[in-house]
């Protein structure tokens, strides 16, 4: 239970977002990954807050006929989506949030957008069709999901307005796919840039909607990886979009977050120059390639939300414990930092409770002595608490 002298989970996370010193290092789990039940209750009673990303707009395309097909003729387990526009047709194949008895990939699929297994842009002529779709898209503010989440969560966490991948990432990941994107960018540069510029312009409406939403902050769900998005691409196509988005978000008194969950070493100096306030899903080695201490020092004005690496969970409880202690020693005195249970997938009850018990004691400023005490306490009581 919260003690009176402590901040609420929400206050703790928001203070850290603003770069202020909280009472302890915030620890939270993503709502869409969070289990329900005993372990959840125990973790939340100790130190775990909730991070809830919600949409802030609806979109429609009034001049596009969308036909969805399922069944053997369109590929089992997938939905074939046809977009018929006055300038042509494109198709994509999606895996959608599954129902009972369907493919689920051992993940929690709450709030997850469909997964494109065949992208809509395959040929040069598809660019014109997709450009029409982008131009035709109507964005309407819809703040109910955010208001509802805030109402339900109260002081238990924060609600973040969700933006999709930034314009070029939308092409690289969602609509063209890598490695095809690299080839299209080299062969059909004019078409790629024309569509990019169209998305970039249309997204301005979305930024405004997100900025004016009642959410605590706004996130670009960018899934950025500096090996795929090299420094040249990042500088030319990503930074200007972040600048444009940040301007709108900041003018409305909000903070801009971006989901950078990949390897960032090659673009670390460029990230330092971006007006992004909070780097979310930062993964230190072994999954990322940029040490946490280096990132904290290099990105001096930014807050880092560290995704606890999934690869460490897979090595067992001792590895989780060792990694956490090592992480805490690395970040002393622990400012400008929060820890996310996992940005990737589900976390076992044992590991969730272990982290929440350890981080309950991570008061700020964190010292070597406090880390030693945390280490001692979690060595004594591994795993779940006894009932």
């Amino acid at each position: 239970m919260e003690r009176l002298s402590e901040m609420t989970y929400r206050q703790r996370i928001l203070a850290t977002f603003r770069g202020e010193r909280a009472d302890k290092i915030p620890f939270f789990h993503l709502w869409r990954r969070l289990q329900t039940g005993e372990a959840e209750r125990e973790a939340r009673d100790k130190s775990m807050g909730v991070w809830w990303q919600r949409p802030c707009y609806t979109e429609s395309m009034p001049h596009v006929d969308i036909v969805e097909r399922r069944g053997p003729s369109s590929g089992l387990g997938t939905t074939l989506v046809e977009y018929h526009t006055p300038v042509g047709t494109v198709t994509e194949r999606l895996k959608k949030e599954p129902g009972v008895g369907e493919w689920k990939a051992q993940r929690s699929w709450r709030d997850i957008t469909p997964w494109a297994v065949e992208r809509r842009i395959k040929r040069p002529e598809d660019y014109e069709v997709v450009k029409f779709m982008v131009e035709d898209t109507v964005y309407k503010p819809d703040y109910f999901p955010i208001e509802q989440a805030k109402d339900w969560l109260g002081d238990d966490g924060v609600v973040i307005a969700n933006l999709p991948h930034s314009p070029m990432q939308m092409l690289m990941i969602d609509w063209v796919g890598t490695p095809n994107f690299f080839i299209h960018h080299a062969r059909y540069r004019d078409k790629v840039e024309d569509l990019f510029n169209t998305i970039d312009r249309r997204y301005e409406e979305m930024y405004k909607i997100a900025a004016e939403s009642p959410a605590d902050a706004v996130i670009f769900g960018d899934n950025l990886d500096g090996v795929l998005v090299n420094p040249n691409l990042f500088q030319q196509y990503f930074m200007p979009c972040y600048e444009k988005c940040a301007k709108t978000i900041h003018e409305n008194g909000k903070l801009l977050i971006s989901h950078f969950d990949g390897r960032l070493g090659d673009i670390k100096h460029l990230i330092a120059k971006c007006p992004i306030d909070i780097i979310e899903a930062f993964h230190p080695p072994p999954m990322g390639d940029l040490p946490l201490r280096e990132a904290l020092d290099l990105w001096n004005g930014k807050v880092l939300l560290v995704g606890f690496p999934g690869s460490v969970y897979s090595l067992g409880t001792d590895a989780v414990r060792d990694y956490l202690i090592s992480l805490l020693r690395t970040v002393l005195p622990g400012d400008r930092l929060a820890i996310e249970a996992s940005t990737e997938n589900l976390v076992s009850d044992e590991h969730l409770v272990l982290l929440s018990r350890a981080l309950e004691q991570a008061t700020l400023p964190l010292t070597e002595k406090k880390v030693n005490e945390i280490e001692e306490s979690i060595l004594k009581r591994p795993g779940r608490s006894e009932p």
Partner: protein, 219 residues
Amino acid sequence: MSEVKYLNVLRDSLVILDFEGVRKAAEAAMRAGIPPLKAVSEGLAVGLRIVGEKFERKEYFLSELVVAAEVMKEGMSIIQPYIKGGGGTSSGSAKGKVVLATVQGDNHDIGKSLVATLLRASGFEVFDLGVDVPTASIVEAVREKKPHILGLSALLTVTMPEMGAVIKELTTTGLRGGVKVIVGGSPVTKEFAEKIGADYRAVDAVNGVNRCNDWVSRR
């Protein structure tokens, strides 16, 4: 123009990633009677090697490697018909066969597709089984295609164990001894690869392709 000049133009058009240039250079070289295999080995392949060196020096990035592979393909499409018996990278002349798959339950395709592209550019014959591939299908492909190398990809900690299941099944069916198994994906660690009995864990696409090249060169 001397033979060396034709070969250099081919090389350089690949290095600067020029699709149109490589077509023209390949057409000109063939018209001038440059031996097609020489055009490949002393023109295009040299260019590809230089691109690889630029990548090592961080002058080029992964995107350029992928584009270079495509430019190589463009040049090959002109030269290939001049090579008697087809040549190129058909199964008869490929340096090795590789089966690739993202394991069951996992739909991540980017890393695997990059590896496929770079392996093909390196001269491998690649059978890309796709994503979310059941263990039985992967084992069946190994039985049928008899590859030198099996590449398995997983981007989720919850799907990583499927890699172990594939290796176990290969062992059970007596196929494991005939194939090297390379695993990759951001959560896949060296320790995990050793635990499941893989031969190698690739830290990235280029590292994986380099290891495949090492293996086949030692055959």
